[in-house]
Symmetry: C2
DNA sequence: ATAATAATTCTATATTCGTTGAAATATGGA
DNA sequence: TCCATATTTCAACGAATATAGAATTATTAT
């Protein structure tokens, strides 16, 4: 993932309603949800929701397909994984958990994250 | 990490210059860097930089201390780790790598991430 | 005290963002 | 065809964002 894509994904997730939308879609699974169902669940106006969907889609975080008169939005998990990798590699020196000597926090023991040595 | 903190951290990182600043600080290590050095490295006006530092600090991503007439900014790795955990738990159903049946991507084998079962 | 250095605060401005209300488009059913 | 449903498009608006210039504060040295 490139920096500009990471910034786009971060910006897309950096908004209350949009984060809710995205989380709902992740929860919903690969089949996604019709826009109306998301609107109902989160009490968002349909036009407002379209706006947010556009952002998420622009960042590659969701996909859409039409089913009858409904638009089905689904989370694109690959993008989130790429973002996590980007943040880990670029913003955690390759290792989360205890990034550098400094990070001495109440970390759970199972969250180590590393990158395989370059080929 | 709470949702509002996650949104704040995401927003703080969702800006080109700020992401650069943060990455530079992470690279610099726990001792941090004087503001002026960051300004020079990234060619940012000192007042603009203060603005961005404020955001990063507000999101808990950096800390400051004074050293003589310099302000030393340093990355707070714990917050980034908390953010990664938040995204993994809340936006990846607890497992990155292959979040759900869907995510069939060119994933490296070493990036599994999980959360210990609740106490 | 004066001057120089380092960074912040203040003011202004152009841009982007999130939301709303009204109108338009697309699909499916009677 | 006419109508209802589902969603998008458009125009408008206040709020927040990113940047720049000028002035200010804090620290150190002379």
């Amino acid at each position: 993932m490139e920096k500009s894509n990471a910034v786009a994904a971060l910006a897309a997730l950096a908004q209350d309603n949009r984060l809710d939308v995205y989380r709902l879609l992740v929860q919903a699974g690969p089949d996604g949800l019709p826009a109306g169902q998301v609107a109902a669940a989160l009490k968002l106006a349909p036009n407002t929701l379209t706006f947010h969907f556009d952002r998420l889609r622009g960042a590659g975080l969701v996909s859409v397909r039409r089913d009858g008169r409904s638009m089905i939005y689904a989370a694109r998990y690959d993008t989130m994984n790429a973002l996590l990798d980007y943040l880990t590699e670029n913003c955690c020196q390759g290792r989360a958990g205890q990034c550098l000597p400094a990070a001495r926090t109440k970390r759970t023991p199972a969250t180590a994250r590393r990158k395989e040595p370059a080929t």
